[in-house]
Symmetry: C2
Subunit: 412 residues, 2 copies
């Protein structure tokens, strides 16, 4: 009995008509002989409405009550989809998190799935049920209280079910039809990838985060769950979307899989910082407490026991970062001569597992940017990614030039 997991996001179940469209897609897979586990999000806009009420009532809310309230949106969709399937003649029923049960940690609003016993659902499949519709994003703690997994948690629910039920695949239906080599709004040459490796997907977060929650990709990678991203707005069979899979499943690929970019970055440099143990820890601890999401960190070699330290963060958080750094200096914990802010930068990255075996990618990237007259302000690298900060106005130009140079419009 092959099992397929299908997940529909909020825009794919936004009203009864869209729920019917989703149900038809489920019907297509049932007709192929799959037992299907469907994970649903709340109807688009519902969760925001619920969160709005909670925040209006209680700015410092009890996360347990928050979870009890916001999880209700998914319950509605699950019931409505089960009814739609029944109406089509497909034996289906809905399951809320506590009914499965989806056992989670007790960290409310950010719970981790610990276990999904398969016996309840399997017993129903054995009795003839063909589709189990699961309210995503939620579970139940050991204390019997409702938990939620945090925003985008329905993707994680889907991957966890796929792992526990050893599903053949986990199809994530969303409002885009796959993962592209870069943002199609920046270059029309952007090409949809047929396959992408988990690690590339994680590094392409700025492309992929809107599509797949990072945490769900990590979980899929760890459990080797084959993920497919596809659009619920295409007709069934129109497009196979993009398969996110283990790199062993990708026979041949371009050295670079994609070019990612992020417009709203800021660069903060602390000049002449004392270079001694504990300083970096003090700095980044203060930034974390101030709620600053630090992205790139660069520290060069020191001279005379002092060094320059640069980090990047979202531009909206740069005031917070500045305040945190100045109060750190005022408190005497860290000393530096000057704080330099640069609000005028964007980040461009090239990502590809091929880089591991192919050298020269960095050299080629820097050459392409130099040829366009683009100055590189900061460079960081990981095993399969090279990122640079450049002046913001050059971002699109850089993406287009790199996309051309690495021939991403052509399949491998």
């Amino acid at each position: 009995m092959p099992i397929l997991v299908m997940k529909f996001g909020g825009t794919s179940v936004a009203d009864p008509d869209r729920i019917r469209r989703a149900a038809k897609r489920v019907g297509v897979e049932v007709a192929k002989g799959y037992k299907v586990i469907v994970i649903v999000s709340a109807m688009a806009g519902r969760t925001n409405e619920l969160v709005g009420w909670v925040e209006e009532i209680s700015p410092m809310f009890d996360a347990r009550e928050y979870d009890a309230v916001v999880s209700s949106g998914e319950n509605v969709t699950a019931g409505l989809l089960a009814l739609t399937l029944q109406e089509m003649g497909v034996p289906a029923r809905s399951w809320q998190g506590w009914q499965v049960p989806v056992r989670t940690s007790g960290v409310h609003s950010a719970a981790r799935i610990e276990d999904i016993p398969t016996d309840n659902l399997m017993a129903k499949f054995d009795e003839g049920m063909q589709v189990a519709v699961i309210a995503g994003f939620q579970g139940v703690s050991a204390e019997g209280r409702i938990t939620t997994l945090g925003r985008g948690g329905s993707d994680t629910t889907a991957v966890a079910f796929a792992a526990c039920f050893e599903a053949e695949r986990c199809d994530i239906y969303t409002d885009v039809d796959g993962i592209y080599t870069t943002d199609p709004r920046i270059t029309s040459k952007a090409r949809k990838l047929e396959r992408i490796a988990f690690e590339e997907m994680l590094e392409l977060a700025s492309l992929g985060a809107k599509v797949l929650q990072t945490r769900s990709v990590e979980l899929a990678m760890r459990n080797k769950v084959r993920l497919r991203v596809l659009s619920s707005f295409d007709e069934p069979g129109d497009s196979a979307g993009t398969l996110v899979c283990d790199e062993e499943e990708i026979m041949e690929s371009n050295v670079v899989a994609g070019v990612a970019c992020s417009r709203d970055e800021a660069k903060v440099t602390l000049l002449s910082v004392a270079d001694r143990p504990g300083v970096a820890a003090a700095i980044f601890n203060a930034l974390s407490e101030a709620g600053v999401n630090v992205d790139m960190i660069v520290q060069n070699i020191s001279a005379d026991g002092r060094t320059d330290l640069t980090f990047s963060c979202p531009i909206a958080q740069v005031e917070r970062a500045e305040k945190a750094m100045l109060s750190l200096r005022d408190g005497g914990a860290v000393n530096f001569s000057e704080l330099a802010l640069d609000r005028d930068v964007a980040k461009v990255s090239v990502v590809g597992i091929g880089m591991r075996s192919q050298s020269g990618v960095a050299a080629k990237m820097f050459r392409v940017l130099a040829d366009e007259g683009i100055n590189i302000r900061v460079i960081t690298t990981s095993e399969i990614k090279i990122s640079v900060l450049i002046e913001r106005k050059y971002m699109e130009l850089a993406v287009q030039a790199l996309h051309d140079a690495f021939e991403l419009d052509k399949a491998a």
Copy 2:
């Protein structure tokens, strides 16, 4: 540890502001030393929205999925009220039906409460919780599926909790401030009753049904739960509302407690029906299958083995009733000479437990109507109620005259 049950209907929790008002009332009772169990309905309009989606998707819906969907409205209110109480510094938490658990029969959408174990809540009260906020209208079946109690079921939930926890009282907060001797829109002399007996409340359904679900009054009567109806829109302490209680708690009362009326009635008479066993059963079975809610039934003595049979029903159902009767005759099951419809009637009733011991109430009622020149078309009586059908245009006049004649504007 005295326990108080408080129930807030949909209009009393329609938005965060009203939820705050409700929370303040709960706070007043907590300050008096009560442990409080609060039962909440869904925010006004929410349940209708959910039911609308279900009916749009699946006209012949699976009641189990219907229950899973429509119960979600109460979960939202329960969480929001618990948060509001916490914000006020009152230790509170929300409970969904399955968490308590509220054990019900498996008859979805019309489940009956079978048992409410008190240990979970009592343990939390012992730990310092002062308020348990319960999602009304819902429970869980032996199969672990969510059930609902049917419309207005939150009143029943409230009474059931009051019975199981031996609460001192069950306060039902609604949008009216109590039970009146008659509809205040018909006569300004209508007086709010301080107390009313359960049985009177049941017979005054046409006054009371908008206020209290009949089933909850029956349950309260059986378990001797003292019910208080009061308005959530008054300031706390403004009004004590109306206490619905055992007749032993009512020391002295008027012979008649109230005058009820119902405008949209129709009268159907079958002339010259064969008077033999099984005929009445055949007729009312056919009406029931046609979805006709029969109210009054009158059959007089027969002559020559034939009799006339009259019943009343809501005017909106009279075509259905006619069709059912004619097809019954066409099928040969029941024979009658003629079917007479009267769409121009209203029902007026006087109700009071005092009637049991006081004679002459019927004579007085008929005299008052005769003095106003109102002809009585049908009469039925129960132990504590006398109902008549009269021409519709006289309804208000009849109510005003009876209210005056029985001096209902004056307390006993």
